[in-house]
Amino acid sequence: MNKSDLLSLVPLWILSSAAILNFFSISIRRNHKVIVIITLVSLVVDFVFLSTYSIRHQQAVEPLLVFDGFGIFNIGLILLTTLIVIMMSYAYFEQREERKEEYYILMILAALGSCILVISKHFASLFLGLEVLSVSLYALIAYLRKRERSDEAGIKYLILAAFSSAFLLFGMALLYAATGTMSFQGLAERLTAAGEISPLVWCGFGMFTVGVGFKLGVVPFHMWTPDVYEGAPAPVTAFIATVSKGGMIALLVRFFSMVQGHQFTLLVTVFTILAVASMFVGNFLALRQNNIKRLLAYSSIAHVGYLLVAFLAGGQLGTQAISFYLVAYFITTLGAFGIMATLSDKERDAELMEDYRGLLWRRPLTAITFSAMLLSLAGIPLTAGFIGKFYVIAAGVRTSHWLLVFALAINSVIGLYYYIRIIAVMFDQRETVRTSEELRPLVYIISSFTMALLGVMLIWLGVHPEGMLMLIRDTL
């Protein structure tokens, strides 16, 4: 590793040092504000530094990592998402009694793990990134210890994630045994050289798929999603839904494009089945949910299914579609969970349908923003989600994946039903007695600002996506 390699790793250094800085800061004096400011500043600095990289930057840090346009784009996305999650978290934790400072260290480390994931080109760095992410998440999910369901969620995630990591690890080991290499590039070369694919490699790919499937929460590895979404604090749920899943998708895209996974019909078939199953099962299970967190969990399963459509379409258009969809989905999910966080009180999160009844008449702006987020999830014009869905469908139609595209179209309709149901509840006229207590002005300003920002970005991307499209096009 030479000097220029070290230099290109600066975004990761900044994150690591921010975590350490937070450690020291806590050991001197616990102060929520200071920690938040350190975290925010380091994320901003990191992003600013990253934006000095040319989007066509191309540098491999042999043998583990590669900095290219796609990686830089995704790191940028992860940093901004984490930034917004931190802003949400400040407002959320400020109202709560528990010790909140360590939360930010874990959050930074999780972001670091995800960043490593999206630039790794080797099984070792993949596993490293994944474990840094997962281990932080175990603690983050169970962070509010006094709540009854948070332990359950934490333990569930711990066991299942460890289990899936084991699968992943075993899959890597099998692939290594068969080919003698752990880098994606090397794997591709050995596989093409070998011509025929041995059962050992298939086993390896199978195990790998199981591990990745767990992290993504695709059907049939989706069981943890609703419980974890429900038990985790709202900002952490937002983080899992965006950074954790998005990082894994980006990794999958890189892995598949490097080992030319689209040439293995069996693998493509397996992912097609996973995609279709995720769409249908996710949407059907969401139909009858009355808990909005669980509903969004099932909807996220379906959305991963949509993403897999673009993933299976492959090629430039497919990858662009994934990038755009991720951006749109991140904004939308952050907005949805952010609003949930602002409506939550000390005891519990605002997660039941009843908490939202008549919201439009109590807090009109919040309700309108939330409606916009839901419409974006449903893929209705004027929102970013529409352009994202359009892009995904375009990628699918381009490569004539008609089964997937039809499944997507049918599921959009099913999905619409339950998103609209929430909106209808918010617009319901029955007056409710329950009023949320007044937040402190600073907290209120920060959370309103964050939500307004997300709402504006959502509409902006829906009305004028050209800038983002060009940026994504340049990264590839």
Binding site: F390, I393, A409, I410, V413, F427, E466, L469
Partner: protein, 520 residues
């Protein structure tokens, strides 16, 4: 630019009306009214200032093209010809009536109601002028969500069910259209390496008949469900009967017309050969729709459901006429779109007025209202007569032209469709019989139409009479668009031969006589 302004005025008016309602509901109504009136004035201004050419093949009246998402080849392309102009005018005028209708009916959430109303109108207006297929889908969706809210929030007892049903039917079919649009986009792109959603570029796309057939089905799905034709009509009676008066009015008057417009503007010109191929089936479902709708209408007791089924019947004529591929039938379709919007819209207004007074839509509980509300009865008589196709009223011209034009394409189906007119007489007279004639058994007071209601119904009655007596100006205005829609004559002849009909030189005869035929 003026087209953009019309849409922006409607959208902006909606937002302003929504905001204004937080202070005062009356301001909100005034703003909403002002914006639709302004839009109407702009459209009339276009009509007066631009010579709407009578000759086929003339250029577009106005045309505006702005870049929107160039990396996908999506532009904000709006254009206006005679057909669009008529539809746009219909939209804004019915928009004025819709605002007036809701003046007293809508008492809560006024701001949100008017926001939705104006956005529906904006979406519909957008569909009528868009020349970019992406934009078409965009507007198609824009009119959907507000309509869902109009039904779901301000509707009658079973509104949630009706709203969901409406939404799911139209959304699902819309998505099929999106798939077809994308398919067309990529087929055209791979042939010419120009990736664009522009209507004019996509018009002459060459593709294999198989692909074209599937793509056309995607478009047809959206338009036929919206129209609606018979197997896909079940959302309509529910949506119509549960929606508030203004909602039913817009649904029947305008939203169904977007389906008919889509057939004329998009489905047929984009896939002419496949449309000709599909024509016998389409005419068949059109004829089935005419009869089925009429029979259903006759057996309803709910006034709004009854009128809704008459729509199904009347829209059958539209399908029949579009797929007959003669200029005369298409002229009839355009006429039908306008006259049906007025006559059926007006019947919904009457139904709404009765509901407001009696709190029931059951016609069995009505009767003998002629004495108590003579004005209402007289106006209703005009629209009921229009609906059954009495000569001298607009609907007669429309249905007569359609039947004339369809005869050469399929005498059998035309004969069946004509039988539908008999059924129309039956159900229309039943409306009069049950509500305004017979024994008066109803106790509560029944005030006659208010000034505001007269302000809506009287102009509509006048228009329907004018259209019946002097239809020529509509025919002239729509002519260039109609002629542009017709597929090549050879293709039509092939179709006719296939059906063993008389080989009369229909195309030539009709174009020689033009639309002047019925100017007696």
């Amino acid at each position: 630019m003026i087209l953009l302004w019309i849409i922006l005025i409607l959208m902006g008016g909606g937002v302003l009306a929504g905001i204004a309602a937080t202070w005062n509901a009356v301001y909100c109504r005034i703003i909403a009214l002002a914006s639709v009136v302004l839009a109407t004035i702009l459209i009339l201004w276009i009509w007066i200032n631009h010579d709407v050419s009578l000759q086929p093949g003339s250029t577009w009246i106005t045309d505006i093209k702005l870049q929107w998402i160039p990396s996908f080849g999506i532009s904000f392309h709006l254009a206006l010809d005679g057909l669009s102009l008529l539809m746009l005018l219909l939209t804004s005028v019915l928009g004025i009536f819709a605002v007036l209708l809701s003046w007293n009916e809508i008492r809560y959430r006024t701001g949100f109601f008017h926001f939705n109303l104006l956005w529906v109108l904006a979406g519909i207006a957008g569909v009528f002028v868009t020349m970019d297929l992406f934009l078409l889908y965009f507007f198609w969706e824009v009119m959907l969500i507000p309509m869902y809210f109009l039904i779901g929030i301000w509707g009658h007892a079973n509104r949630q069910y009706a709203a969901y049903k409406f939404f799911i039917f139209t959304q699902a079919s819309g998505l099929l259209m999106l798939l077809a649009i994308l398919g067309l986009y990529f087929v055209h792109g791979s042939r010419t390496s120009v990736y664009t959603f522009d209507y004019f570029d996509l018009l002459a796309t060459t593709m294999s008949p198989d692909i074209a057939r599937w793509l056309m089905l995607g478009f047809l799905a959206a338009f036929l469900v919206k129209l609606p034709v018979v197997p896909f009509h079940t959302w309509l009676p529910d949506a119509h009967s549960e929606a508030p008066t203004a909602g039913s009015f817009i649904l029947a008057g305008l939203m169904l017309k977007t389906g008919a417009y889509g057939l004329i503007r998009f489905a047929v010109p984009l896939f002419p050969a496949q449309a000709v191929e599909f024509a016998p089936w389409a005419m068949l479902i059109g004829a089935v729709g005419i009869i089925y709708g009429a029979i259903q209408a006759f057996s309803q007791t709910d006034m709004k459901r009854l009128v809704a089924y008459t729509s199904v019947s009347h829209m059958g004529f539209v399908v029949l006429g579009v797929f007959a591929f003669s200029e005369m039938a298409l002229q009839g379709v355009v006429m039908q779109m306008i006259t049906h919007a007025i006559s059926t819209g007006a019947l919904f207004v009457v139904a709404g007025a009765l509901y407001e007074r009696l709190h029931t839509r059951d016609i069995l509980q009505m009767g003998g209202f002629w004495k108590r509300a003579p004005f209402m009865a007289t106006v209703s008589l005009v629209f009921v007569m229009a609906s059954l196709g009495l000569p001298g009223l607009g609907n007669f011209i429309a249905e007569f032209l359609i039947l004339m034009g369809s005869w050469s394409a399929s005498p059998v189906l035309t004969a069946i469709a004509t039988a539908g007119l008999v059924a129309a007489t039956a159900y229309s007279l039943r409306i009069m019989q049950k509500i305004f004639l017979g024994k008066d058994t109803h106790a509560p007071a029944l005030p006659d139409l208010s000034l505001r209601e007269k302000l809506v119904l009287v102009p509509m009655a006048i228009v329907i009479i004018i259209l019946g007596l002097f239809p020529q100006f509509i025919i002239d205005t729509a002519r260039p668009a109609v002629v542009r829609t017709l597929p090549e004559k050879e293709a039509i002849h092939a179709l006719h031969n296939q059906h063993n009909t008389t080989q009369s030189p229909t195309g030539g005869m009709l174009s020689a006589k033009g639309g002047n035929h019925e100017q007696e």
